[in-house]
């Protein structure tokens, strides 16, 4: 199948107008590195499709910091995310994830919004965004709303966002200097570059004011199910817990116990389950080292 029309849009307003006018026969595309391949490979013969490319809309591009948040335009490319000093210092796990997505050629074109809306369970920016507690700004002709990124997944490849009606415009990532926070992502794959992960784990930690205890943490692992998976019991185990090797190891073991990954070409179910524990532990060590914090025995 092929698309009939491909329009490079200049504004959100115009895009929403077009979506409404085409009433289901148009859909939003950003970098298109996944979508254009999918459309060409699909055999479905539907009505002629119009693609509205939002990747050059300035108002949804770029990274800024304001009032305790990072704002990331959904049309920001993966390369821009990976190379951004702001992201590298304040949302480090996201920079780590972005750096390992696809190839340089893909990263130069693919966008962070597209990566999330494509809704693959182990997408390299979705995992850290969820760990970081990011929210997505979704606009439609009915208005705009903020939704936790975590709530955007309905199934493997199925997003809560309807690309024939809605636009994911921006991400909002909470950041702060105090209390101290850190994040890290560990990604295991068969090769160092240009390959999908066998397993990824992203963690985010917030320490108490004395920096002896975790205040709260988030642990996200994937692919462990059809949608990104949070190790909630492991997170609970570290709530207000002392920052010690034993506590982190115990939480990692709980994450392993609760994870039920499946067998695929990229890894066995048992292997993936074991790796949940190891990557979780490594991600904590890496994240805390960023804060010059070592784990006490």
């Amino acid at each position: 199948m092929q698309w009939e029309r491909y329009q490079v849009m200049a504004s959100i307003k115009e895009t929403l107008y077009q979506l409404e006018e085409k009433a289901g026969r148009a859909r939003v595309v950003a970098g298109g590195t996944d979508l254009l391949v999918e459309i060409q490979e699909s055999v479905a013969q539907g009505e002629p499709l119009t693609l509205l490319d939002i990747s050059q809309i300035e108002e949804i591009r770029g990274i800024t910091e304001s009032k305790g948040h990072l704002f990331i335009g959904a049309a920001t490319t993966i390369s821009e995310i990976a190379n951004s000093p702001l992201i590298r210092t304040k949302a480090r796990a996201l920079a780590q994830g972005a750096r390992s997505l696809g190839s340089p050629q893909i990263r130069n074109v693919a966008t962070i919004g597209g990566n999330v809306v494509n809704a693959q369970p182990a997408a390299d920016t979705s995992i850290p965004l969820i760990a970081l507690g990011a929210e997505a700004k979704i606009v439609s002709s009915e208005g705009e709303s903020y939704v936790p990124v975590e709530d955007l997944f309905r199934g493997a490849g199925v997003s809560a966002i309807d690309p024939s009606r809605e636009i994911l415009a921006q991400f909002r990532v909470p950041i702060s200097e105090a209390p101290a926070r850190a994040s890290a992502m560990e990604r295991l794959a068969r090769r160092k570059a240009f390959t999908l992960p066998t397993l990824s784990v992203a963690v985010w930690v917030e320490m108490d004011d004395e920096e002896h205890h975790f205040r709260q943490v988030r642990i996200v692992a994937a692919p462990v199910g059809p949608i990104p998976w949070r190790a909630k019991r492991a997170e609970q185990a570290l709530k207000n817990a002392a920052i010690t090797r034993a506590n982190v190891s115990r939480a990692a073991a709980i994450a392993r116990e609760d994870a039920h990954p499946r067998e695929s070409l990229r890894g066995g179910a048992d292997y993936r389950k074991d790796m949940v524990e190891i990557l979780t532990r490594r991600a904590f060590v890496d994240g805390l080292s960023w804060l010059n914090k070592e784990l006490y025995d």
Binding site: W3, Y6, G32, T33, S103, P104, I106, V109, F194
Partner: protein
């Protein structure tokens, strides 16, 4: 299709072109603007042979809509140098340091490297590797490419290059030579088969079997023939000569007439005025099949009661080696090790998918194609169209990798038949998926070994059973299987050997020639066995090999007495020294 006018800067010159909104940048460059230096290796952004720079950034042009370059600048490999005299330092160093082999990935890699050096004039080797991580190469190896990029960076910074001077020697001997067809390859002007064009040329598309094993009841070509723009639909009935071919055993039909034996067995060829017209019409050819139970496992297919894939049975070849007295050998053994192994099917995955162009030059039928065996292809084409060999010319186009996978016929004969029937030039280019689906593979093996040795570590007996999945047709199967049998013990000397190697037909992709030709499957088997015997004898792995390795005077498994030129022991000693 809705069209739009776009204006962009291409290799320094402003261009305004009208493009359909569904046109991809790669097709705009290659088909409309004739810049064929940019290559299509996969069509889905996975290989980056199609890399061009948009506003200085490498992108995969095969998944990049052409309308997106409106107002931007695009650079292709043709923009690196206008003539041979003004090659970019990247191009000259790729040539000097031997970074160019088949050349298919090179335009994309040069551009990835260009983008890197533009933003970072002094990259580390690691940064070069990161920059070219998306560009797949299958032959030259990345190391020389990395060295060439670093050398070009040095030159661009105006630094002297003492360590990278050409190695010199007297006359031609001992001196690095520039690759004969290297310059066109770094300039993007080398003509691969997909880059060729002829006026009035038609395009071919294949109709493949969707079943692994089925009988053809009827083929209805009418719905395809009646489609606008279709010139011919060729089936077995259109073949003037005998409908059989094969390099060793002629067990394969040019186009299946009675039976299909794997998913991808060619059934018909649609010839039309445009490629997409041919592809759409190919979907309209109706083939009525009686589906037969398939056999996928050679261990099942070789059983006497198994259903027959070919009339003469499922055992293509049984290659036997008998040396000495195997029973006696095992009686002498103090240690006996038994192990079973499996090896997998491997795809060559050359960067260039198959492509060919045929036309009449007077009464000479000419075929330009990617090929590793133009003489063999010529024989088979002449036989197929019933022309004397002297009336068929096969010209090897610049070939983007082969590794054994382009020795067999792939599509050369289909374009030849298309031209023979229509009188017009016919071109065909396969997608990566078609290439994967239909090209030959490395044989997958099931192996059972039993090897005995004395307590001192001297091998006394070796038994091996090798069951190779040769797929639906013979291809080079008999030769590969026989080679495996002769390589069953690798570089080791054993007085008593018994090998049974089988090539078994199954309803899977055809296995054929691939680098090493049956030998690479053997080393992961005999080496761990030698290690295990060493452990049980209390010997070091090196000592165990020293005792048994072939040397001048040794008798191989086929009882050839080796005389000179046996380098195995020398190799072993060098490895042993390196490992200390």
């Amino acid at each position: 299709m809705t069209e739009r006018s776009i204006t962009f800067t291409l290799n320094g010159f402003k261009q305004t072109v009208r493009v359909p909104e569904n046109l991809l940048l790669l097709d705009l460059l290659r088909e409309d603007l004739g810049l064929t230096g940019t290559k299509r290796g996969c069509g889905v952004g996975e290989c980056s042979a199609c890399t061009v720079l948009v506003n200085g950034h490498p992108v995969a042009s095969c998944i990049y809509p052409a309308v997106k370059v409106d107002g931007r600048t695009v650079m292709t490999v043709e923009g690196l140098a206008r003539t041979q005299k003004d090659l970019h330092p990247l191009q000259t160093w790729f040539l000097k340091l031997g970074a160019v082999q088949c050349g298919f990935c090179i335009p994309g890699i040069l551009l990835s490297a260009k983008a890197l050096l533009d933003r970072n004039p002094s990259p580390t080797a690691e940064e070069v590797r990161e920059a070219i991580a998306g560009n797949l190469c299958r032959c030259a190896g990345y190391q020389k490419i990395v060295e060439a990029v670093l050398a070009a960076a040095d030159e661009l910074r105006g630094e002297s290059l003492p360590s990278r001077k050409e190695t010199g020697g007297e006359g031609a001997l001992g001196r690095s030579m520039l690759k004969l067809d290297g310059i066109p390859k770094v300039m993007g002007t080398a003509q691969f088969a997909a880059d060729l064009k002829r006026p009035g040329m038609l395009f071919g598309a294949m109709v493949w079997s969707p079943y692994p094993h089925a009988r053809i009841i009827a083929i209805d070509t009418d719905p395809a023939l009646s489609a606008e723009g279709v010139a011919a639909v060729l089936t077995a009935k259109d073949i003037p000569g005998p409908n059989s071919y094969g390099t060793i055993v002629k067990d394969q039909s040019f186009l299946a007439a009675q039976k299909v034996r794997y998913v991808g067995d060619p059934v018909a060829v649609v010839i039309a005025k445009e490629e997409n017209v041919a592809r759409l019409a190919a979907e309209k050819v109706r083939v009525n099949y009686e589906v037969l139970p398939p056999l996928f496992d050679p261990r099942e297919a070789m059983k006497p009661e198994a259903s027959r894939i070919h009339d003469r049975g499922n055992i293509l070849i049984h290659s036997k080696i008998r040396k000495g007295n195997i029973e006696e050998g095992f009686r002498q053994a103090d240690v006996i090790v038994e192990k079973s192994f499996t090896t997998q099917t491997v795809e060559h995955a050359y960067m260039e998918p198959e492509a060919a162009l045929a036309f009449w030059d007077g009464e000479m039928l000419v075929v330009h194609c990617c090929s590793q065996g133009p003489h063999y292809h010529r024989q088979e084409i002449a036989r197929m169209v019933n022309l004397p060999v002297s009336k068929v010319r096969v010209i090897q186009a610049t070939t983007g990798g082969g590794f054994g996978g382009k020795i067999d016929l792939s599509l050369q004969h289909f374009v030849a038949l298309g031209t023979f029937v229509t009188g017009k030039p016919v071109k065909m280019v396969w997608t990566r998926e078609e290439s994967f689906r239909t090209s030959t593979k490395r044989h997958a093996f099931y192996l059972n070994y039993r090897v005995g040795a004395t307590r001192q570590g001297r091998l006394t007996a070796a038994y091996a059973e090798i069951i190779g999945n040769t797929g639906a047709y013979a291809s080079f199967g008999p030769a590969v299987i026989t080679r495996s049998a002769t390589m069953a013990l690798g570089p080791y000397d054993c007085p008593n050997v018994h090998v049974d190697a089988y090539g078994i037909y199954t309803n899977t992709q055809i296995s054929g020639a691939m680098r090493g030709f049956g030998a690479p499957q053997m080393s992961p088997c005999h080496e761990p066995i030698v290690d295990e015997i060493a452990r049980q004898c209390g010997l070091s792995p090196v000592e165990m090999r020293r005792i048994n390795i072939l040397r001048p005077g040794s008798s191989t498994v086929t009882q050839q007495i080796l005389t000179a030129g046996v380098g195995a022991l020398e190799t072993l000693e060098k490895i042993a020294t390196e490992m200390k």
